[in-house]
Point group: C2
Chain length 763, copies 2
């Protein structure tokens, strides 16, 4: 009795739901081939460190021109590649643009090579051939044999510290390369500055500052070796320094402990016995070398690699157990890998002492929240943040607080657009922070000052000199003359404005509501009735004459064509449907989207769209139409939602390295998968409703933060039984095609009765 | 009675010595012409901000080659120039190498020009012609009329904040340029990164990071305007950025508040009425933008320029009144300007909250001391730090503590060589920190842990891989094969080792004493008896055959010839004299030094030596022989010391812009002047003795920190009466040619009886 009580105190989560070993279903290798842009390395849930192999670090420029191949390397690793260059500590997951790749470490033996070499001639540098048969990628753990060096490499991590274990052969010439020039999406001037101190024979600290996608980004580090190095050195690839005095007084290339420059690679040298393991702990901090050291000493005080790995996988199991599903083994792999991919971003951006670097480049202390970064909001507002509001509400609350801190630190007075590491790169369109904030407020997740949050949303939405907002406010749409993405911007602003209206309504601010609900109708201003599509409109009110409804490029939309974008009125499908001619025509239009053929030439110029991510003309591999399959519900044909959703789940998600049909986009694709497999989806975040679809799981149990459980059961589930006969909520028939957020959070059970035949009569 | 007591409590210094207006004798313009390398702008005693006009900012490179002209601009200002480019906030005083020149501000009116233009075509840019007749330079205050813009510019400062007052004509097109590319000793890649936030219409913060003489130097700032600007903008001179997204979303050139890049100039625009004054406060911090703001708000909360100026001059008067002299007006100008130049470096390097950036690039808090930087130690160990031990002992104590902090933060475990702004540039030779530390310990000034200081000195002196130390230790000298400055290094190490021996003796560490007193005799190993000069010696023990005793270049000495350097055994003139053949020969050798002719060709390649700084063959314009005139004392011919010292005082120091015969070298030249005018000089810092010379003042009163007063009086003083008949200490005849530090610090009076004829019999 006493023992059981103690057990409950230590493991409170276990008292509500039995912990299963779910880590075994996580296959981080999924998405590393073709378009997924995921990385296979080791990280913790929302961890600051993503320690992962890079198979190449191509230059952004090739012969003075943009090197298109570099797009493939957003996550540093391509499954197709034959060599590994090294293991770096920061990676985006699933993005279509990139940065990071900080602090690449490579173990080698034999004559020292200080250049990475090329994929064509790997022996010319320190990179090594490897084989997937000698490779293991698990949640929190990665292992590979480096054939050229006969070194076994193993990686694990705590939240802010990467841990490396390298098993060497016997050699008097073993090395660890620390490449401080390497980076993802690298170019000549990306590394602005590097500073390194070799404090003693097994401890090194420093920082690197880059000017990349994040304009002003500095990462501090502390690096500790389990075995003292016998010697060390650097090679500086900088142009000749004007002030040569530094170099005259010492031999600064060898065993010189104070190093700085723009283009530096270091090496640390060892004698190793047969099968000797040399371990490295590598801690990051956004604030200081001291904080990096403190992170290391707090999170991984010792040298027990296996314990750190076990701890990492225990933490993963704890997170993964928030949903237990019954499903086929493949579906379990898909589901838990999706959950894994959803829970590795945004990332914790702050030290164990709470300090982080703000957008203003000052050090701040996160007061009562964990600070997060890497907000790929154009993607993740759709399903990832709504998923967090359900399964990770505390974290999503902190994410909103992180966005509000960003706003407070912004000289522009703007909420984040696409932010990472104390910068905003303003990538993609809209101001979708407001959607995330609205969803968190409407669903009761945000416990901060809602009135202040509303003010931040309004200020951001009224930033007249940001990407056409002034004209959008004045004219109700962005004229085609002033923007290449005038239509998608107008559509996205209109949706975001609806989100602001929802917050205003909740707070009883009627005037704000009136203003923004009016703005939310602006999509109508770019809808061309004559052709039934959204279309670029000129300042004089006329629609642009030259217009291609298929092309994804140069038609007024960002990364998409009007066939997909014309459905982007998630805030008001009813009105859109009416504009498009009513239910039948609307449903037929969606039918066409899924069944038409989109020839390659129409998306050849859009990196984020490839054949793998397309079903008919529907682009699932990129985000703008992610809600479209659910729109059949509004058209009175929910059975089509059901069959389309099941089809997408099957076609776009596979338990293989090439299993993702498009960039995972920081978890958005994965969040779509989880929602849809559970049978419901947030078509319009900022609303408290989920549209029902067709679950692919046999059953699922959601352990909610408050201690409640919500169950999903699919009776007569099978691959053929994709249609829903009826739905019961807590035993009572559901008459609509939706459930409310509260229905879930107060606990209960949603029962789907599945069938192989569509039920066309019910609604 | 009560009132008087209160007065004493408030102004304790006043209780011992009446405050005079001595600021009027300070002419910061002295040394700005030709070789002095001083700056005329506004600064406080040991202030962090040196706000001063730059008359040019030449590039380090010209047509791909070193631009020799740039050497002239070490202080940013040349009296010979006709135009002013702007006013920047950091300047070295009197150096022969340079850096700094941070944050150049220039007021303009008329059409905006965002380039500085050239001296040949000033109207092509924002620079302006000016005339010395419209220029005033005082301690803590500078004023000039900018002819091309019809703007009166005035500058003053608190310790960490520069204050600008610009009086504009009526104009709808008035501007303040903030040039973030400009710097002293600039070259293309010097500015590593710049970051600026426009917080509101009158407040801007940011930082700039440079890779110059200081390899990794960052200065943070906060800039406040007395009048809101009506608009602002930037021009970015960077190469095209790879990540263009930043620029697409906004007009980032105009009124865009988040700015970053490598090559940026900004402008702030105003409407001005006739004679309208626009003021700027510009605060610096080594640590953060927040600290810069705090420095500003603490030191200059308001906008009263005159009050700030008065406060600055009050602080200067307080410092200057530490010595009151009776002398000719010209001599007073020379003396108090020397004191001014001596008291503007080292500079305070830390914020009002005590934080500073350490050599390890971490933020530190100075615990119980003020942190200082800019240690030009090869120069300043000779007379400046000894002068501080007498007149600024508290500050010198803190300077030693700053050096010890540097040591603690050094991955190399070395005391500073030539350090500034959290960097060491390791310029010049020796490890003269040990001299400063020894002098402070021997004279009872250093109240820190002397044993730890000794350890730091020993560790530094045993740094085998630093500039020949390993060979010096093993062989007793540095062989000529391994260093171009093997002889001067050996001589300087030997002196420094003697300093370490003095500390060891004081602490009773006999073994350390024995080791280092032995090393201090190493000068003998580079003395070539056959020619009677110090001479490069090869590893095989033979002296280098090809050798030129006149040339200052390439002969084994740094910035000097063997004629000067052969006297560099300050720690043991007796033995040197014996080696050189006894008193008569020794004195004859010094005679020759002062009377020989050194043709131009022999020093043409040494920037730091020019004709103006040479008397015969004696180079006063550079440091190595600064003690030589006093060596006659050892040779039994003190009257020659007396006449030579008086001659040097007259010839090398004049109250004119070209009044300094060489680089002031952070106050070393000035400290030589003050000691010598008072009648004594520290020939061998680390000893508690001063050699007596010939005072040039009529009398002087030194207000010492403990409250004691030491007086110097020269009876029968005149320009012709340069010889000392007799000397009385506290009324008693002095029989030797020296006094002890204690003789001064316990208070008392030194009376010189002057005569026009040498007294050759006395010793």
């Amino acid at each position: 009795m006493k023992k059981a009580l103690l057990f409950c105190l230590l493991f409170p989560a276990l008292s509500t739901q039995a912990q299963q070993n779910l880590v075994k279903y996580v296959k981080p290798i999924i998405g590393t081939q073709k378009m997924g842009h995921t990385y296979p390395g080791a990280t913790l849930p929302f961890g600051s460190v993503q320690l992962s192999p890079d198979t190449d670090t191509l230059s952004y420029e090739l012969n003075g021109k943009y090197n298109g191949e570099v797009y493939k390397y957003c996550a540093g690793y391509k499954y197709e590649d034959k060599t590994i260059v090294g293991f770096s500590h920061t990676h985006f997951s699933g993005t279509g643009h990139s940065d990071l790749g900080d602090f690449l470490i490579m173990p080698t033996q034999g004559a020292l090579k200080i250049n990475p070499g090329t994929a064509d001639a790997p022996k010319s540098g320190f990179r090594s051939a490897f084989s997937h048969k000698n490779e293991t990628a698990e949640a929190g753990y990665y292992k590979v044999k480096l054939d050229d060096h006969q070194i076994q490499a193993e990686l694990t991590a705590s939240k802010r510290v990467g841990m490396h274990r390298y098993t060497f052969p016997k050699s008097a010439d073993s090395h660890l390369i620390l490449d401080l020039m390497s980076g993802i999406y690298n170019y000549d001037d990306k590394t602005v500055w590097t500073y390194v101190r070799v404090i003693n024979d097994s401890l090194v600290t420093g920082y690197r500052q880059t000017n990349g996608w994040a304009r002003t980004r500095t990462v501090y580090f502390a690096m500790s070796f389990s075995k003292p190095f016998k010697s060390y050195g650097q090679k500086n690839f900088d142009k000749k320094q004007v002030y040569g005095g530094f170099w005259r007084k010492f031999d600064q290339n060898n065993n010189f402990p104070e190093i700085a420059g723009k283009r530096i690679r270091m090496h640390f040298d060892f004698d190793t016995k047969e099968q000797e393991q040399v371990q490295v702990k590598f801690a990051l901090s956004p604030v200081s070398q001291d904080n990096a050291l403190e992170n290391m000493r707090t999170e991984i005080p010792g040298w027990n690699f296996d314990e750190v790995k076990n701890q990492a996988q225990t933490e993963w199991n704890k997170e993964l157990n928030k949903i237990n599903i019954a499903a086929s083994e493949d579906d379990k792999v898909n589901f838990y890998t999706a959950m894994y991919h959803a829970f590795i971003n945004p990332t914790t951006y702050g030290d164990v002492n709470g300090q982080y670097k703000g957008l203003d480049q000052n050090a701040h202390k996160a007061d009562g929240f964990t600070n997060y970064t890497t907000f790929s909001l154009w993607d993740t507002y759709r399903a990832l943040h709504p998923f967090f509001n359900l399964i990770q509400p505390s974290r999503n609350n902190d994410m909103v607080k992180s966005m509000m801190a960003h706003y407070d630190q912004s000289a522009l007075k703007m909420l984040p657009i696409w932010s990472h590491y104390a910068n905003d790169n303003w990538c993609m369109s809209g101001y979708h922070s407001v959607s995330v904030i609205a969803d968190a407020i409407i669903k009761g997740v945000y416990d901060g000052d809602a009135a202040k949050a509303l003010e931040a949303c309004i200020t951001t939405a009224n930033h007249r000199n940001y990407e056409g907002i002034g004209k959008y406010i004045d004219m109700g749409y962005i004229p085609a003359e002033s923007s290449g993405t005038s239509v998608s911007n107008t559509l996205e602003y209109a949706y975001d404005d609806w989100c602001i209206a929802q917050i205003a309504k909740r707070l009883g601010k009627q005037e704000v509501y009136n203003e923004f609900i009016k703005r939310s109708g602006n999509w109508k201003n770019v809808y061309d009735k004559s052709i039934g599509f959204m279309r670029p409109r000129l300042a004089d009110g006329s629609f642009k004459k030259e217009f291609d409804v298929l092309s994804t490029h140069g038609q007024g939309f960002i990364e998409g064509n009007t066939w997909n974008y014309s459905f982007f009125v998630p805030q008001d499908p009813e009105s859109l449907m009416a504009a498009m001619g009513g239910k039948q025509k609307f449903a037929a239009r969606i039918d066409s989207l899924f069944t038409m053929h989109l020839p390659d030439e129409f998306f050849a110029d859009t990196e984020d769209i490839t054949r793998e991510g397309i079903i008919g003309g529907y682009v699932h591999g990129n985000e703008p139409a992610h809600h479209v399959a659910y729109l059949y519900n509004w058209a009175g044909q929910p059975w089509k939602t059901q069959e389309r959703v099941r089809m997408i789940l099957k076609m776009q998600y596979k338990p293989t390295p090439d299993g993702l049909g498009g960039n995972d986009d920081c978890g958005q694709m994965s969040a779509w998968y989880m929602f849809s497999s559970l049978g419901f989806y947030p078509v319009s975040p900022g609303s408290d409703e989920y549209a029902l679809g067709s679950p692919s799981v046999k059953s699922a149990s959601l352990a909610l933060e408050g201690g409640k459980t919500f169950a999903v059961e699919a009776i007569n589930q099978s691959d053929k039984n994709v249609y829903v006969q009826k739905v019961l909520l807590n035993g009572k028939i559901l008459t609509g095609n939706s459930i409310k957020h509260d229905d879930i959070t107060k606990g209960g059970k949603l029962t789907f009765y599945m069938s192989s035949r569509p039920v066309k009569s019910s609604k």
